[in-house]
């Protein structure tokens, strides 16, 4: 084999190897999806999402959950029923309309918590976040469980 050909083959193998390693490293250390920077998959009101959940929570989970955990990003509009802090000091805004059996609990993040603190009960807002689980009636708690949405922020759009 000619020296030149040998060199070419070596370079090809070398570059394939480097590209392969880079892809593996990228996959291993790729960052988490940025929910707030990603497009909205579905828009709905709190009542619509709660009704859809309570009618068939399994079908609702099938629709909004993804197998890899990067589930659907939703924008939910409704009234603020409460603002509380969770165990790791993130703000949890509960959206719920009067007369509905359940609501939607939206957990904010370190960099968005300040937007939740400014809210008051009764405010009408739209929250963008990632869907985690449907609302349902829980026989053990003997009460309705809310829809859980995480990595939230208030959605401000120019209408």
């Amino acid at each position: 084999m000619k020296k030149k050909t040998k060199k070419k083959i070596l370079i090809s193998i070398g570059s394939i190897f480097i590209i392969g390693i880079s892809i593996v490293l990228y996959l291993l250390f790729a960052p988490h999806r940025d929910t707030q920077a990603s497009p909205i998959d579905f828009r709905m009101t709190v009542t619509e999402l709660v009704n859809e959940s309570l009618e068939n929570s399994k079908a609702t989970n099938d629709k909004y959950l993804s197998e890899d955990g990067d589930s659907k990003i939703i924008a939910i509009s409704g009234s603020v029923a409460s603002v509380e802090m969770d165990f790791v000091n993130n703000q949890v805004v509960r959206l719920k309309e009067e007369g509905d059996d359940a609501g939607v609990k939206c957990t904010f993040m370190k960099n968005t918590n300040k937007n939740a603190v400014a809210l008051s009960v009764g405010d009408k807002i739209t929250i963008k976040g990632v869907y985690r689980v449907a609302a349902s009636y829980d026989e053990d708690f003997e009460e309705y469980e809310d829809v859980i949405v995480e990595e939230c922020d208030i959605l401000r759009e120019n209408s």
Binding site: L65, D68, V88, F141, E143
Partner: protein, 186 residues
Amino acid sequence: MKKSILVLALTLGSAGVSFGQSETKIVSEKGHIEFLSSTSVEDIKAENSKIKSSLDISSGAVIISVPMQSYKFENAMMQKHYNSPKFLDTKQFPKSKFKGTISNLGDVDFSKDGTYKAVIKGDLTLHGVTKPVTENATITVKGSEITLDSKMKLTLADYNIVFDKGRTSNSIAKTLDVTTKIEFAK
């Protein structure tokens, strides 16, 4: 007539029961679960602070409900792996639940400040499989706050989570350490 009296008695009876329960049952959404998989290859940790729990201080009943997609991993790829159908299959099984009772309720005085050792026996439903488990917990009563701390071992194969092939079989422990902390307000 007899029938209607019976129905009335049953209705009143069940109303009484649920009233009694709501008086001693405390619901908390301030809780945290962490699991750790420790092998010679690496330690993998994940945390979840979206759990909902209830504690009935008169019957000793404990319920913990866990939204499975709320577990956070430092590494995004591991989080995807965890959620996938090969592991916890969280799309199919989006919630796990523990239902149990403090078996030595007599040793715990919820009305008096102190630290008590409790044994909680019950069933854990995870990945669609229900198995009996026993958790050793520490209950701390301080004023109007009750804190429950528990540590338990969880063997993945018991819940049909098996992986024999590839890299993961070495880097994920067969048995995980699960640490739970819940704050209840009386």
